[in-house]
Each structure stands twice: as structure tokens, then as C-alpha cells.
Subunit: 123 residues, 2 copies
DNA sequence: TGGATACGCAACCATATGGTTGCATATTGT
DNA sequence: ACAATATGCAACCATATGGTTGCGTATCCA
């Protein structure tokens, strides 16, 4: 990590890996999804910087950041008088893998259906 | 702006592909995520069948199904006195691709950071 | 036909959620 | 020290959300 603002690993109170709904819920709010997106391609940003691009107040942004933190998607740390928030891509990976898994289940279900049709279907 | 001269696009009640937050919000409710998961590996199910596995009332399940429909994740149809709901995997694919995209942005940001460190960093 | 099954609709309720404003605190820089 | 900046905290508010119950309707089947 190049950013000295990021504190040491603080793994508390964040969503467990086996809680995909929490991550999806966090991403399900347009303002929050935007924050995640911005952190994704701009790197760690302060609350003030994040508020610049948003249409809501600083406090609203702060609340969203806390929600994202609860979901394990972002992590914050202080740098002087600023609080810097950074993306934490692990949970995004979790969400991806979850979608992959149920998509695969869907494909398997389709295959089972095909097998059933071939077996029992119209002669 | 929609030019009135252009052929009108089919207006859908369901979420547009470019509305990932809506899909994530739909998946962000544990009960709904469970419904999606069940439809994924069990195939189309009636409301009664879906209610069997749920801890909430049939009406709650119905509401969730409507929410999922709004997000474009499921589609319902009648079969006699039953209403059958089926998964609609396209939106899941959209969500997957969205996560892929921002994950990739994150990777590119990391690479930019590395390039910056190599260029300007401690000699 | 009549009962059982499957569902839709509407009203209602408690809480969660997203947003705001006001004010206090800490940090920076002159 | 002082003003400006960046943030935290708490109260407050309107609406959305998830859940329930009650009741009416359609369909299946004996």
C-alpha cells in the first residue's frame, strides 16, 4: 500500500464472506454504487472529494460510506484532518463468485432439463 | 433525448440493462436472494412451492417476486390456477459483467499506481 | 355442486432507510 | 492566535420497505 493513511488491518464488524445479500444490498443504492465505482478508478478519496461528485450532502456520503464499510466493501483511515476511504476488492470478488455459482446452477438445471427432454420427451 | 422521428423503443417495465443498482438492490434482500437461488437450481416454481421453503407468508413471497420482476430477474406466467415464476438469467449476466468491469477498473488503477511508483517513487 | 387449492388485492403497521440541518471538534496554514 | 478546511455527532423528517391479516376470486377435482 502506498498510502500511509491506511491503517493496519482492521477486520471488525464487516460482513462475513458468506453474506452475499449484504454486499448486494450495499451495491443496490445508486449513490453507493457510484461511490464504489469512483473509488474503483480513482483510488482512495477523502470524504470531501467524494462529496464533490455527489448530489447529496457530505453527511449523506458519510452514511453511505459507513454502509459500504459494514458490507466490507470499503475501508477508511485518517490522514491528518481528512478521512480517506479505499475500496476493498475482496468482497466484490465474493459477490462475483456468488453470481458465478448460481449462474452455474442455472446452467446445470438447463442441462438436466435437456437430459429429461431427450429421455422422456416426444419420440 | 429521444427523437420523436426515431422508431420508438419498446418500453419495458423491467429494469434496463444499464441499471445495475436495481438488480443489486433486488438481490440485496436475503429472502429474495433465496428465491433467486431456488429458482436457479430447481427451475420454475409456483408461488405455493416457493412459499414452502420460505419463512414468510405467501403474500410476502409474492411481493418479493414482483420486486424481482421489476428488476428483470424473474418472469411469471400462469398455468391453470398456479402462477409459475422462472429465473431470467440475462440480468444476472448484466450484474456479473458490471462487477467484472469495475473490478477491471480497479486492476487498472493498481497498475497505474505501480507505474507511478516506479516512475516517481523512491529511487 | 361443493370443497379444497392457489392466488390477487387492499388495508394496515412497524421499522429501516436516505436525506437534511445544526453544531461541535480537530487539523492546517498564515 | 485565528480563519479556513474536513470531519464527526445527533436530532429530525419523509418515505420506502417488508411483513402481516382479511377477504374475494379463479381453478381443480371428487
Amino acid at each position: 500500500m502506498a498510502d500511509p493513511a491506511l491503517p493496519r488491518r482492521r477486520r471488525r464488524r464487516t460482513a462475513a464472506a458468506g453474506d452475499p445479500a449484504r454486499v448486494f444490498a450495499a451495491l443496490g443504492e445508486p449513490a453507493r454504487l457510484r461511490i464504489v465505482s469512483r473509488l474503483c478508478d480513482a483510488g482512495p478519496l477523502s470524504i470531501a472529494r467524494l462529496t464533490e461528485g455527489a448530489r447529496v450532502s457530505r453527511q449523506a456520503v458519510t452514511k453511505h460510506l459507513h454502509a459500504l464499510e459494514q458490507a466490507g466493501l470499503v475501508q477508511g483511515g485518517r490522514a491528518g484532518r481528512e478521512q480517506i476511504w479505499a475500496l476493498r476488492p475482496e468482497r466484490l470478488g465474493d459477490a462475483q463468485r456468488y453470481l458465478d455459482r448460481i449462474s452455474q446452477q442455472w446452467d446445470e438445471a438447463l442441462q438436466r432439463l435437456q437430459a429429461f427432454v431427450e429421455d422422456d420427451g416426444p419420440a
